[in-house]
């Protein structure tokens, strides 16, 4: 951490109850290094297909960032040094080691990386929490948004002959995750329901969630993976 920065006094936002959270629980006993090959492949993909990300980060070469998917039991250290960029998965990172940390649920972080959601809007709604040097985080957000990343497409290309299989698998996984997410929303609504006193508000909420669920199922079907 740099001088003048303020360390968080509170734990970052509680992760949403989601399939990713369960995945996180399942991954807990595992050594995070097991996942390192995925991030090595991702870095190779970035160097090959999106070198402009590193170019845009050139001014911030000495400011590593910690990316913390709040629903998974590991964090990712991103070192944007264009000479020796690194994407390293770890159990945890000492805040002293990095210029900034981005906390957020995995699904939000992926949507952000793919430019599917507006970073400012996410921050306005507090689904992302930023600690430390805001400048490097803004630079990273802009660099990634500018690259036009499509994680499934890009990773398939990176994996060469296995790309087609990966694409099918990833597509199925995303479809599954979408549907599970929708189911979990319903379950979550049911779990929190007793706490909600206003019965009318409750039923409106459940109706809205059911609508959302339908929409998600439709979207998954259109994607051809349901």
């Amino acid at each position: 951490m740099r001088p003048g920065q303020v360390r968080s006094a509170a734990k970052p936002a509680t992760p949403p109850f989601s399939p990713v959270l369960l995945l996180g629980l399942a991954l807990k006993p595992m050594r995070p290094q097991v996942l390192q090959p995925i991030f090595d492949a991702m870095l190779r993909m970035i160097r090959r297909r999106h070198p402009d990300i590193l170019e845009r980060m050139a001014d911030y070469a000495d400011r590593p960032v910690c990316i913390d998917p709040t629903d998974l039991p590991f964090v990712i250290l991103l070192d944007p040094n264009p000479e020796a960029p690194a994407l390293i998965v770890r159990r945890e990172i000492d805040p002293e080691e990095v210029a900034a940390t981005i906390h957020g649920p995995l699904a939000t972080l992926i949507a952000l990386a793919e430019g599917k959601v507006d970073g400012d809007a996410l921050f306005f709604s507090r689904r992302l929490i930023i600690e430390g040097d805001t400048e490097v985080v803004v630079a990273l957000r802009n660099a990634i948004d500018g690259a036009g990343i499509d994680l499934v497409e890009d990773m398939s290309a990176q994996l060469g002959p296995f790309g087609k299989a990966f694409r099918g698998l990833a597509g199925a996984a995303i479809g599954l995750a979408d549907r599970m997410q929708a189911d979990f929303e319903t379950l979550r609504a049911a779990l929190i329901a007793p706490a909600v006193k206003d019965v009318d508000a409750q039923s409106a909420r459940i109706a809205a969630l059911e609508g959302e669920l339908k929409q998600l199922r439709k979207a998954a079907r259109r994607g051809g993976v349901a």
Partner: protein, 335 residues
Amino acid sequence: MGSTLPPTRPELVCPAGTPAALKSAVDAGADCVYVGFRDETNARNFPGLNFNRKELGEGIAYAHDKGAKVLVAINTFPRAGTPELWHQAVADAARLKADAVILADIGLIEHAARVHPELRLHLSVQAAASNPAAIAFYAERFGVKRVVLPRVLTVQEIATINARIAPVETEVFVFGGLCVMAEGRCALSSYVTGQSPNMNGVCSPAGEVRYTETHAGVTSELSGFTINKFAPNEPAGYPTLCKGRFIARDKASYLFEEPTSLNTLNILPDLIKAGVTAFKIEGRQRGRAYVAAVVQAFRAGVDAVMAGRPLPDIDLDRITEGGKQTTGAYEKAWR
């Protein structure tokens, strides 16, 4: 007078901070895209944003291929003693076949008009030309073709200006972040941080921002000055100075402006009637998702008005600052 002419179809001028956003804007129906170089020559000199020369050349080719124009904003005020960076930016925009440059500084406009007489000149909002005499000055002296009006005028004042300055075109902001001060005439940012829109192309720069999470919520600071405090579940805004919560007369309030976004979707017919040539969407720093959503909404809005159909009901709440919207200075009560 120009005001009696039937309204023409306004151009939709859309922001792009990156090549990916430029493609998003063009694909979503932008007539024009405005961009800047990756340095202090433009007023969105934000970390990791903007175009290098190669990217601009490719972006212009992509836009031209799809029938869209590209405008290059070179709208900061050149540093005394070192105008070369700005002169080079104008020369490169001309060489790469930009459809126009958007300039604010009188000296730079004079340079561009003299050295690149074929280059179309737009006056940036940062020049704050807020009346017909100011606009006439830029048009007559330097051949400026279009003026981006400062966000201080009412729709009625805009109509009056248009009637007086034809054939000079006007461009007005229709969506996005809102300066509450006359643009280009505000030094609040440099007073607090040392960096300003006019000199550095940044307002309330990210490098000076700190968020502190505590059990009581989040505090946002700019160069050590508290700009706002949010309760744990309250939507938090970026600490832009003029959108902060401050104490005056022993009362804490959003003294200058609330965290809010300009949204004129519902008054588009009035702006078209006022004789505006181009509608500008703010937000080169906002990313592809924002660009696509807003450009689609305004494409639909403008097309509906021109076809005599009712305005579409499009909800842009989720991408507005603090989830709030305003028609800003276009309505007099805002003042």
